[in-house]
Assembly symmetry: C2
Homo-oligomer: 233 residues x 2
């Protein structure tokens, strides 16, 4: 039973917040009554929590922000970490002592749903985020719910572009110059499900791109990714 759901992004074009992932969200939240929402990636914690509470209400769950009271996490049957800025998010996770608390809860089987920055922080480090380092966290260490790095919102190089900044592919190749990898570049509309010891790709046909030091490969939805749990650099 996959209790970890990592979404590349929260909103598909022309659809409502989380709508594109409705079925997999329903599966992951099956039997859950209350969700603890972690809103720290955005500035307005109450507004963000209200948005997510409304989007999750159709799944039959009530949602409370972890900033509202110390008991929200322990009183909830699942954790949702929303997108925004990954540096702001991981800084608050460290400051609020949530890194260990969330990791322990998910290790004990509590469902974890992450989107965008919430997917970044499910990795060992935040080192493959696309976000601007607007604040300085005490550490790049994150939740390590999966043993490899993910790049959410992965976009392929655009051959028509005249922009001189690095492509996403080049940025990930630079990551691999400094770290063993692998990095799973998840295109928008895809997600990863995991039971903590293995996992699979889901979502739209565009799939994902896997970057290792020995090369790149395409990953189609439905592909078992268990080898990423067994690989040790």
């Amino acid at each position: 039973m996959a209790h970890i759901l990592l979404l590349s992004n929260s909103t598909a074009p022309g659809r409502a917040y989380l709508e594109h992932a409705r079925e997999i969200l329903a599966e992951t939240l099956d039997g859950v009554a209350a969700v603890a929402f972690v809103p720290y990636a955005l500035a307005d914690l109450d507004a963000y929590t209200a948005t997510v509470a409304a989007a999750l209400a159709p799944f039959g769950v009530t949602t409370h922000g972890v900033h509202e009271s110390r008991n929200v996490l322990s009183d909830s049957g699942a954790v949702f970490v929303g997108g925004g800025n990954t540096f702001r998010l991981v800084k608050r996770l460290h400051e609020e002592g949530l890194i260990g608390t969330i990791r322990d809860a998910v290790g004990a089987g509590v469902p974890y749903i992450g989107s965008s920055a919430g997917t970044n922080v499910a990795c060992p480090k935040i080192s493959t985020t696309n976000d601007m380092p607007i604040v300085e966290p005490p550490s790049f260490d994150a939740l390590r719910l999966v043993p490899f790095q993910i790049n959410p919102h992965y976009v392929d190089p655009d051959p028509a572009s005249i922009h001189q900044g690095e492509t996403r592919q080049e940025r990930i190749q630079q990551y691999l110059e400094e770290n063993p990898g692998p990095v799973l570049g998840m295109r928008e509309g895809t997600w990863l499900t995991s039971n903590g010891a293995g996992g699979a790709l889901g979502g739209i046909a565009a799939g994902a791109r896997l970057f290792t030091r020995s090369g790149e490969s395409e990953i189609a939805p439905g592909t078992d990714l268990g080898h990423l749990w067994r690989a040790r650099p």
Copy 2:
């Protein structure tokens, strides 16, 4: 006399490395015989140094990488910090003790030329870089050669894009939620010249976009930016 030259990017489409900025580079390097190149933003230090040495040779200067010997910096009449990954660059600047050394040299009048990541590290912090945090530096603190933040390779939001990741504008707005600003978004082909106490924008007509907590404004090439030195948040 402006001795600080901060380029948004190193290569314009269809032109050779640094070619688009030839005139302003010649002005900045006037009277300089030897340039100390800081190659730490890329992985291959020797290859990067060779590229830059060849590009700067027409200006009548010899170029050596600061990784080659301890004396390169003190033996040179100017410092050039090249682009690549800003996190990798600032990590090495701290580790090699170059933050204070370069800041002191530039404060004493030694010309500084930065491109892309080399422009990011001329700011107080690296917090407005576009780069992926592939390594964890001991600090986000940088050279503070100018008292405000710059975003190199600034790109305007693309109204036709269906990509759900944040636009550059949104990322800078998130920066301003957490920091007082301002941030100068320098479009490709532009540069900033400074004498350490003031400065001006140069480069192509597209210019720059200035982000403050009270709003955004367009900056045309030739505009005096002295108010950015006098503004105190």
